[in-house]
Symmetry: D3
Subunit: 137 residues, 6 copies
Amino acid sequence: MAQVYITRVERFNAAHKLWVNEWSEDKNFEFFGKCANKNWHGHNYRLEVTVKGSPDPVTGFVIDAKKLGSLMKREVTDKLDHRNLNLDVDFIKDVQPTSENLTILIWQQLEPKIENCKLYSVKLYETENIFAEYRGE
Amino acid sequence: MAQVYITRVERFNAAHKLWVNEWSEDKNFEFFGKCANKNWHGHNYRLEVTVKGSPDPVTGFVIDAKKLGSLMKREVTDKLDHRNLNLDVDFIKDVQPTSENLTILIWQQLEPKIENCKLYSVKLYETENIFAEYRGE
Amino acid sequence: MAQVYITRVERFNAAHKLWVNEWSEDKNFEFFGKCANKNWHGHNYRLEVTVKGSPDPVTGFVIDAKKLGSLMKREVTDKLDHRNLNLDVDFIKDVQPTSENLTILIWQQLEPKIENCKLYSVKLYETENIFAEYRGE
Amino acid sequence: MAQVYITRVERFNAAHKLWVNEWSEDKNFEFFGKCANKNWHGHNYRLEVTVKGSPDPVTGFVIDAKKLGSLMKREVTDKLDHRNLNLDVDFIKDVQPTSENLTILIWQQLEPKIENCKLYSVKLYETENIFAEYRGE
Amino acid sequence: MAQVYITRVERFNAAHKLWVNEWSEDKNFEFFGKCANKNWHGHNYRLEVTVKGSPDPVTGFVIDAKKLGSLMKREVTDKLDHRNLNLDVDFIKDVQPTSENLTILIWQQLEPKIENCKLYSVKLYETENIFAEYRGE
Amino acid sequence: MAQVYITRVERFNAAHKLWVNEWSEDKNFEFFGKCANKNWHGHNYRLEVTVKGSPDPVTGFVIDAKKLGSLMKREVTDKLDHRNLNLDVDFIKDVQPTSENLTILIWQQLEPKIENCKLYSVKLYETENIFAEYRGE
C-alpha cells in the first residue's frame, strides 16, 4: 500500500523567556542574550504536524485533515495560544521552552492520540528564519 | 558522486468535490462536510516535484530545471489547470481527488519520463495549511 | 483625532467560471480562455478588509479585530467558502463573478454593518499574482 | 519632480497584553478575551516604513534604504525587540499597546528624524492576518 | 460607475550595480557600500502593476489580467529578465538603476499602452524588505 | 537522547551566469538559454542550514541559533552577498555556480566548523520556484 505524508498547519502566539534558575543573572544574559529579558518576549509560532499512512481506498484520506486540525487545537494550540510558555502550560514544566524542546513535548501530546496512521514529524517555526523539527528519533 | 535534490514548483487552479457515489447524500455530507458541496469548490494548488541525482561535472545540473518545468506542465499541470479534477482529467478516473491520491497519480505520470536522475518526491499544497507528499514508498 | 487603518484577512476556497450566456461557446472561449471551462475551476481566495477610524482612547482599538473577523465570516466568507460563486451565493446573482465584481459585492455586504468607523477597502487575491481592490469610489 | 514611495521592512519579537487598569478583571477578559492573559502573550511583528520623495538625479535614491533601516533599528526596533511592550519601552507609557497605537507612536519616533523626504506611512503586522497603518492623518 | 483597482504581478531576475562615473572609486564605495561591487550583484525582482477603471458590465473585467500580463512581459520583463540593468536594456540609459528610478521608467514603458482604464501604480520589490512605488505623481 | 533538527535561514543577493568555456557561444546559449547572458543576471538567494542533535538538558539548545547564524554569515553569506559567484568567491573556483554545486560547496565550508551536533542539510532557494538541497550523501 502506498504511503503518503499529510501535513496540517496551525498557529499560536505566545510569550516566553529563556532562563536557567541555577545560573546568575549575568550568566543568563551572557548565554541567552536578549532572549533572557526578564519581562518576556514573544512569537507568532507556526506548527506543522505530519502523519504518514495509506490513503483509504474509498475516501482517499490518510487522515481527515479537519480532524487532525481539531486534535492539534485541543491538545496543543488551545493550550499555548496567547499564553506564557514558561508559566501557563500544563505539559511544559521544568524544561526550557526552546523550539527544540517544544517539538518533543508537542510530539508527546499528539502521538498517543493519532489513530490509523503514524505521527511522522512535528515542525515548529519560531520565526520565519528559525525552526525546529522532531521526528520521534 | 555527491547526490543533490533539486525541486521545481508549478501551480494550477482547479475545481473538485469529495463524494462517494455508493454513500447516501447524508453520509457524504457527514463525512466530507463542506468539501461535498454538489456544485464544487476549488483551490490554487502548488506542486513541488523533487528529483535526486549527481550534478553533471561540466554543466553543474542534476536536471535542467526549465526542462523539468516543461515536463511538469506537459504531463501534469496543463491537464489540471482550470479543470474539474473529478470530471476533466484522463489520469484521474474512479479515484477520489484528495491531495493524497493526487500525489500518487502525479508521481505515476512523471516517473517514467524522468531521465538521468530519480524522482524523489511529489508534494502538493491544497492550501497553505494542508499539503500531501508521496515519495514512491 | 488620529486616523488609523486596520486590516483583517480571511480566506475562502471556491469554484467559479467566467461565461456570458448571451455569447456563443466559441466567443466565450475566445474571450475568457480556460476560465470558461464548463466544468468550472477554482481558487483559494484571500480577502483583506480595511476600516479607518480613531483608536479608542481607553481600549486602543479602532475596531475589535476579532469582531471584524466574525462579521466577515458571517456576512461573506461563510457564504462563499467551499461554494460555487456562479450558483450558490445569494448576493451574487446576474453578475460575472470576477474578482473586480466580487470586491464591489463584498463591500455592499459589509458596509452597512460596520459601526463606529468607516469601511475603507475590500481587497481580494484570486491568486498570489492577481488581485482586485474596491474603495467605495 | 517625480515623487516615489520607498518602503523598508524591519522585524521585532515582543510580548504584550491588553488590559485596562480601571476595569475589573471580568470586564477585561470579556472585552479583550485571551489578549488579556495576565502572564502575557507575544508576536513576531513586521514593521513597514514608507517615505515619499524625489529620486536624487545623481544617486537615484529617495533615501538610502540602508540608512532608513539603521534609523528604524536605532529609534524603534532595538527598543521593542525581545521586550515587553507594556513595561519596557520608554516611548510607550500610559497607552494601550495595540497595533493601532503602536503605529502612531512609531510615527512620532521616526518623523522628526527623516530628512530630505517625507514620512508617508507606518504599517505594522501583528500577525499575517491583522495589521494597522498610520499615515499621519 | 464604480472604480476598481486590479493588480498583476510578474517577476524578473537581473544583475545591476550602483555606481556614479563622475565619482572616485572610494566615494562610490563609501556611498553605495557593497551595492557598488564592480563585478555586479543581482536580485529576484517582483513587479506589481495596478490599473484603475470600471468593470465592464458584461464581462466583469476592468482589464483582461492575462492581457495585462502579456503587456508587462512584452514591454518590461522580457527586456529585464536575466539581463544586466546597467548595460542591456534599451529604456534604461544614463540613469542609475535603483528601484526608485526603475518604477518611473517602467511606468513610462507601460502608460501609453494601457487602454480603456488608467495606470495607477508601478511597485517593484528589490527584496522582500525593500520596495519602491511610483503612482505617476 | 531525542534527536532534533534545527534550521537557520540567511539570505544573500548575487550575480552569476552559467557558461562552459570549452563550448562555443552557440552551444552555451542553446544549453543554458538566457542564464548564459554574458553580462550576468542575479538572484535573491535564500539559504537554509539544518543541523541535527540532542537538546542540551539545561539550555534546551541543540545549537545556539544566533551562533549558527554568525557562522553562516562569516563562512558563507558575507563572501557571497552582493558578489559575482563566477568571479569573486574564493571557494567557488573552476566549478559552474549552479544551485546544485553551491549547496555542495557551502556544505564543505560549514561542515568542519559545526561543533557538538551534525550538519544535516544545506538548502538553497534560487527563486521561490527552484531550490536545491545537499545532505552530505
